[in-house]
């Protein structure tokens, strides 16, 4: 027997707001388009990102090479597509790793309290003392230069932000009457934590992920720019900007401009989404129901 489940009013109200917010819809559509192009890049464009054509070095944008070529004659469009995949993909990994690590530690600290909470708070405070780039550099020094080391460093730096907000939210929600009421009916701590507290944290986590994504992509690019991230010949937006800037003075502007533009657009769009989402998904769990 199929039971028609009425959609909760929150969801209806939210959908209505989402539909009426053109900026948000535009930004989400733009991000979806970028993601699609980046993922489908190899099928859309026939050049190999690492194939050097020494007959066409530093060629200006043309029909054959829409974004021009670099000093080794590599097609810039292919490299930008490839680089965006590296940068945005690594950014996504940082976001997911940070969210998982941060949620687990945040739930532990908030639910258990006591020594666990003290230890985790102390640890995350120590991590937050360092700027993200410094921490990533330290990890790169300890391991070896390259994307994986940078991703690890940035993930370590991003999880305390999740942990702190989640810890606070767990403590706030745990003191609410509906949690006490669930305790009073005899539910296990696990059920209370995962069925009653965690669902209220999802909006907080998503919000944090959107906020961290832009910053992570930029930090990755900065590490690439400093030569500690992606190593040649890997295409990565930050490293491409570094390599390209030396040609700015000699007039080959496209080498740095196009990777920079893609980075700018992607980060701006995620920032807009994060900003709008903050208004929609009120992290305090109180809902604005527009009637």
């Amino acid at each position: 027997m199929a039971v028609a489940v009425a959609e909760p009013r929150i969801a209806v109200a939210r959908r209505r707001i989402v539909q009426s917010d053109r900026v948000l819809v535009g930004a989400l559509a733009g991000l979806a388009l970028i993601a699609l192009i980046v993922v489908a890049g190899p099928f859309l464009w026939h050049y190999d990102a690492n194939a050097a054509d020494l007959t066409a070095q530093l060629a200006a944008p043309s029909a054959d090479h829409p974004l021009g070529t670099d000093n080794l004659g590599r097609d810039l469009l292919a490299r930008v597509l490839d680089g965006a995949r590296t940068s945005l993909g690594a950014g996504a990994v940082v976001v997911v790793a940070g969210a998982v690590l941060g949620s687990v530690t945040g739930l532990l600290a908030g639910a258990l309290g006591g020594m666990v909470d003290t230890a985790l708070t102390w640890l995350t405070n120590s991590i937050l003392c360092f700027p993200s780039i410094m921490l990533a550099m330290a990890v790169v020094m300890a391991l070896k230069p390259g994307i994986p080391a940078v991703v690890i460093g940035l993930s370590i730096h991003s999880f305390p932000w999740y942990m702190r907000t989640i810890r606070g939210e767990v403590m706030r929600i745990a003191a609410l009457d509906f949690v006490k009421s669930t305790n009073a009916i005899g539910a296990t701590q696990g059920r209370i934590l995962f069925r009653h507290i965690f669902p209220h944290l999802i909006s907080t986590i998503v919000l944090q992920m959107a906020a961290v994504f832009g910053a992570s992509v930029l930090s990755l690019a900065a590490m690439g720019f400093l030569g500690m991230g992606a190593q040649p010949p890997t295409a990565e937006l930050g490293a491409m900007i570094t390599e390209g800037q030396q040609f700015f003075l000699t007039g080959q502007w496209w080498l740095a401009a196009f990777p920079g533009l893609v980075l700018l657009i992607a980060v701006t769009l995620t920032t807009i989404v994060a900003d709008r989402a903050r208004e929609l998904l009120d992290p305090r769990g109180e809902y604005i129901v527009a009637d």
Binding site: S181, I185, Y287, V289
Partner: protein, 381 residues
């Protein structure tokens, strides 16, 4: 008939003759006579302390929420705990269900020592003792539908059969006055009174024996209060429920309770059957509380005097004497009241009071009280 216990020893309510006390309850109550109380609470103590170590050492910021609170509740009975905010009545309720761990004292539910139970045993016992909270907005998870909220206790207590669970939940919802067509809605589609009905359905769906009602109608409109109170009385008769009713509204207490315990600063100062307490209040605090309850007659209200100082004098430290002494017109200048803490003793069958001079304040302010609907008691001429 008045048998004042001159030796001053504490009389635990459970020590009295249960049969006789059962008989003294209001007519029409379904109290089992001669049986053991369903709930026995003895010497419950809870102190909230500051988190800082230095404050703990100085014993600063200590709040004694409960001091040696003892009472019992018979099966089918409603015991009211009344008192002003901060008198410890909610803490007492919370400790009874072990939602808060008391510092000391015992809670016995149907012969089971609740405080000795392991976490798993306590979880199982929770199906037999439930609570309805004051705030119907905060006590229901906003992400759950009404049906899910009412089904949850069944699920938690192992009713795996989805269809049976659903049927039972819908049946319960209909019993409290909601239709099955509303079951898939979220709790915020409902008004405060309807939400409290949902909370009641959630508490009763497991067929508990004891239900703690923690000010269940305080957050509701007066018109809705009566509906919810009627529902609670109906359900009590139907399901033979035992209520521990936390309340600060005396009119509500009189309406629903068989017996009433008055709390002041974490202690029970007077306990008697509802009728007896209203007819013959003996503790100065109870008298003041009754006089503070508004009466729809401006002449009566104008004729009343405030018997107690409204608050304890600033900076006063609780001394060795009666906690009410700094505010009490009876005990203010009496050495006994400032040096010796009065113990709860039985001054008439089933009527317990913690006061060195029970009944004196009533005599002093008898005139304005006599004008109210509360009649003079033959026990205290």
């Amino acid at each position: 008939m008045t048998t004042i216990n001159d030796d001053g020893g504490t009389v635990r309510p459970g020590d009295g003759d249960a049969v006789e006390r059962g008989m003294r309850l209001g007519s029409g109550s379904a109290v089992e006579r001669g049986a053991r109380p369903l709930l026995e609470v003895h010497g419950l103590t809870k102190t909230y302390r500051s988190k800082s170590v230095s404050a703990r050492l100085r014993r600063a910021n200590e709040v004694k929420a409960l001091r040696e609170v003892s009472f019992d509740v018979m099966r089918g009975e409603t015991l009211g705990l009344v008192g002003e905010s901060g008198s410890g009545k909610s803490t007492a309720a919370s400790c009874v269900l072990r939602l808060t761990e008391p510092d000391s004292g015992s809670v016995t539910f149907d012969g089971v020592d609740v405080r000795a139970l392991s976490k798993a045993e306590l979880r199982r016992l929770r199906s037999r003792m439930q609570i309805v909270f004051q705030d119907p907005y905060g006590s229901l998870d906003p992400r759950f539908s009404v049906r899910e909220l009412v089904e949850e206790p069944l699920l938690v207590h192992g009713l795996r059969d989805e269809k049976a669970r659903r049927e039972r939940a819908l049946q319960m919802l209909e019993r409290v006055g909601l239709s099955a067509s509303q079951a898939e809605l979220n709790a915020h589609a409902f008004s405060g009174g309807q939400r409290q009905r949902i909370a009641i359905a959630r508490a009763l769906v497991l067929n508990p024996e004891l239900v703690v009602l923690d000010e269940p109608v305080t957050a509701l409109d007066v018109s809705v209060q009566a509906q919810v109170l009627n529902l609670l009385t109906e359900l009590q008769k139907e399901l033979n429920l035992t209520y521990l009713f936390i309340v600060h509204d005396l009119a509500v207490a009189q309406y629903l309770c068989h017996r009433i315990a008055v709390m002041y600063l974490g202690e029970i100062v007077e306990m008697a059957s509802s009728q007896e307490l209203f007819d013959n209040p003996l503790h100065p605090y109870t008298v003041t509380l009754l006089m503070a309850a508004p009466v729809p007659d401006p002449d009566v209200m104008a004729g009343r005097r405030t018997a107690l100082g409204t608050t304890a004098p600033a900076g006063s430290k609780p001394g060795p004497g009666c906690p009410l002494q700094p505010r009490c017109p009876v005990g203010m200048n009496r050495p006994e009241c400032s040096s010796q803490r009065p113990l709860l003793r039985e001054v008439a069958p089933g009527h317990l009071v913690a006061c060195h001079y029970p009944g004196e304040l009533k005599a002093a302010v008898a005139a304005p009280l006599a004008n109210t609907a509360i009649p003079e008691s033959p026990l205290n001429p």
